[in-house]
């Protein structure tokens, strides 16, 4: 302990740097706009009742409202009735900041729809990636064919190509095919994951050849071997890949922003954050951070559940 204190110090500093944005995000999602502006209230804020000004504005009494309310407030002027109605509205619109932020997150934009879109897009991408990557990785790891090393070199080469470099040609292709503003535009460009092929190939290299030969003796064809033998033994590696793939596409802002223009029904969760951006007053940080919290929670929960097997997959020693 005494000799390792500096290691722990460095690790703790690292943890603080990583955790700080999350801390801010969650904390802001609890606070009222005033507390956010003034930077007070600790982690949870004071949770004093606040008035939702937009709600009050919506209930701004009209002539008819005042006339209708005249019966309730006898013997007074219209000005007083108006003031009384505004006071009533303010009382009705008073909420705790945390409730305000989270209800705003779901009501201001169809966040549930965005979450559903996120699930549809990331799940489709991952499933198709697996369907492509497993047979490809099996062939690259275990089958002998002419040009195998060249193909694998190409796979490695593709790992070096940044997404942003090919975004424009991809967009033009999709636009020419008339696929912009569809789920296909969100899914198709990501269905072949060279990283997935590479990761699964490295894992399959560790699977003993005898196991594959045994499957062949038992009467399995090559595809049966991929799905019935390789897939079940590769679960840890697949889980690791799932986390990389799902996190990347769930959080992706860049690509959906490019191919989804206008049609809010196709928005993915990160695009939902735009609903709260820059209205000049900056007072929507609370709901915005609440949205962000809602978006990252599924990923964090999934990671915590799969943590142990995820690390097994990264270290690539599924079988001895």
């Amino acid at each position: 302990m005494t000799r390792d204190w500096w290691k722990h110090l460095i690790l703790i500093l690292g943890v603080i740097i990583v955790i700080a944005p999350f801390y801010m995000m969650v904390s802001y999602s609890f606070k009222s706009p005033g507390e956010i502006d003034r930077g007070e209230g600790g982690f949870f804020g004071r949770q004093e009742m606040m008035v939702d000004e937009r709600c009050v504005k919506l209930r701004d009494p009209s002539r008819e409202d005042i006339a209708a309310a005249a019966l309730r407030f006898p013997d007074t002027t219209d000005g007083n009735i108006r003031n009384a109605l505004v006071a009533e509205a303010e009382a009705d619109c008073a909420v705790r900041p945390v409730v305000f932020n989270y209800t705003k997150a779901f009501s201001e934009a169809p966040l549930l729809r965005y979450l559903l879109n996120g699930v549809i897009v990331t799940a489709s991408i991952f499933l198709i990636q697996v369907v492509v990557a497993l047979p490809a990785a099996y062939a690259l790891a275990k089958l002998k064919f002419w040009g195998r090393d060249a193909v694998f070199a190409l796979v490695l080469f593709c790992l070096l190509i940044p997404v942003h470099a090919i975004a424009l040609p991809l967009y033009i292709m999709l636009a020419k095919l008339g696929l912009t503003n569809t789920y296909a535009a969100l899914v198709v460009p990501w269905t072949i994951s060279v990283f997935g092929i590479f990761l699964m190939r490295q894992f399959f290299m560790t699977v003993p050849d005898d196991l594959i030969d045994a499957a062949r003796m038992d009467g399995m064809g090559e595809f049966a071997i991929v799905w019935r033998v390789m897939l079940p033994t590769a679960i840890p590696a697949l889980l690791a890949f799932a986390i990389f793939s799902i996190v990347a596409h769930w959080n992706d802002y860049f690509w959906p922003r490019i191919v989804v223009t206008g049609n809010r029904d196709l928005f993915t969760p990160p695009l939902g954050l735009r609903e709260f951006k820059g209205d000049g007053d900056g007072s929507y940080f609370g709901p915005m951070m609440a949205t962000a919290t809602v978006i990252v929670t599924p990923l964090i929960v999934a990671f915590l559940l799969a943590q142990k097997r995820f690390i097994e997959g990264i270290t690539l020693n599924g079988m001895k």
Binding site: P208, D210, L211, D213, A214, A215, R216, M217, D218, G219, M220, A224, V229, P232, T233, I235, M319
Partner: protein, 385 residues
């Protein structure tokens, strides 16, 4: 059950020739071991028989039918691997059932969940379950059927692998060093069990091993392979007592045979360390040759014995005593087998004189081929004396 015939199989990996024309006929119900040092091509030959590897030339017939170009699955052979190769995600019972499921059920019937409602699936599953429990009964692993391979010991895994092989009554069993991952004690026990299983099933077994003891103890015939060829294929006692080549004599037998350099003089008489022996090889060319003497062919003797030396090491196995003797004039030590009660007389450094049984002497020419025409001269000399 079937006979196998392997005709002139050759295999090349690029430039290297791994198998150089192997031919062997294996009759129905026979237990044949392919034995040889690592890299001799024995595993490659087994994989070619299995259909996991394709031969460069030659043919294989199972029950008279050529299997050239047939997939491994269609050859009706089963194989036990050195690493057992059990499916780690399936239970023991499911592991044993796999070859039956792949053969007896259609793709639709094998689907998870949906397969259960396909017509005929239930009956197929029923018979498979019966066959699995029958196989488990033969191997006494009935109580393990629900466990995963990861929860089993090496010996148990080995039995499961055997179970998966025998459950579908194959034409022949191919075993690729199935015992080499077991500890020594279990290996001896499993050796006997496999031999017993062979008698019980009366099936054709082809067994690959680098361990000559396994080959000697279990087989009907041993094929000794070296450098991509079969040097000799015969019953274990023939291979031991009557080897065709010096490599075979050296490989088979533990402790190793003693090889002494001898000189062939005129009339074929042999001499060891410039001393003439009472042994002649009529018709042999003059020059160097090798005299092979098994440890049990040597015996302690007095003056006038051809071999002199002193004890450098001895190993008492309880039932017998092996003594290492450093022979004056020879680089290699000579091993002698004797009775343990001689131990006290054979302490380290004791000078010994060794004689040998001429009837058990094996003589090889300079190329390593056996010279069988031996003449024992001691009978005549004793007459003169």
């Amino acid at each position: 059950m079937a006979e196998l015939s392997i005709e002139n199989i050759a295999k090349r990996f690029g430039e290297t020739e791994v198998l150089k024309g192997i031919s062997i006929d294996i009759s129905d119900g026979e237990f044949v071991s392919l034995v040889g040092p690592s890299g001799c091509g024995k595993s490659t030959l087994l994989r070619i028989i299995a259909g996991l590897e394709e031969q460069s030339s030659g043919d294989i017939r199972i029950s008279g039918q050529s299997v050239a170009g047939q997939r491994a699955a269609d050859r009706n052979l089963s194989m036990v691997f050195q690493s057992y190769a059990l499916y780690p995600h399936l239970s023991v019972g499911e592991n044993i059932a796999v070859p039956l499921k792949m053969r007896r059920m259609t793709g639709l019937q094998r689907l998870p969940l949906l397969g259960n409602i396909m017509p005929g699936a239930r009956e197929a599953r029923g018979t498979i379950e019966q066959d699995v429990s029958h196989a488990a009964q033969i191997l006494e692993i009935g109580h393990l059927l629900d466990r995963k391979p990861g929860q089993l010991s090496g010996g148990q895994r080995q039995r499961v692998a055997l179970g998966r092989a025998l459950v579908r009554n194959p034409a022949a069993f191919l075993l690729d060093e199935p015992l080499s991952n077991l500890d020594a004690k279990l290996r001896v026990q499993t050796r006997a069990e496999i031999a017993q299983l062979h008698r019980q099933l009366d099936a054709t077994f082809i067994y690959v091993t680098h361990d000559q003891v396994e080959a000697m103890t279990m087989s009907d015939r041993i094929a000794v392979m070296m450098g991509g060829r079969i040097l000799q294929c015969a019953a274990p006692d023939v291979v031991y007592e009557d080897p065709d080549r010096i490599e075979v004599a050296e490989f088979i037998g533990s402790p190793k045979i003693n090889i002494l350099p001898v000189e062939v003089s005129g009339e074929g008489r042999l001499s060891l360390l410039d001393q003439p022996l009472n042994l002649a090889v009529p018709g042999a060319n003059r020059g160097v040759a090798s005299l092979g003497l098994r440890p049990e062919a040597l015996r302690l003797s007095g003056e006038g014995a051809p071999i002199h030396g002193h004890v450098v090491h001895s190993e008492n196995l309880g039932s017998e005593l092996y003594v290492q003797v450093e022979v004056t004039g020879l680089e290699e030590q000579v091993t002698l087998r004797t009775m343990p009660d001689r131990r006290s007389a054979l302490t380290l450094g004791t000078p010994v004189a060794l004689d040998f049984d001429a009837a058990k002497a094996l003589v090889f020419d300079a190329d390593g081929a056996r010279l069988r025409k031996l003449r024992n001269l001691s009978a005549t000399t004793s007459e003169v004396a």
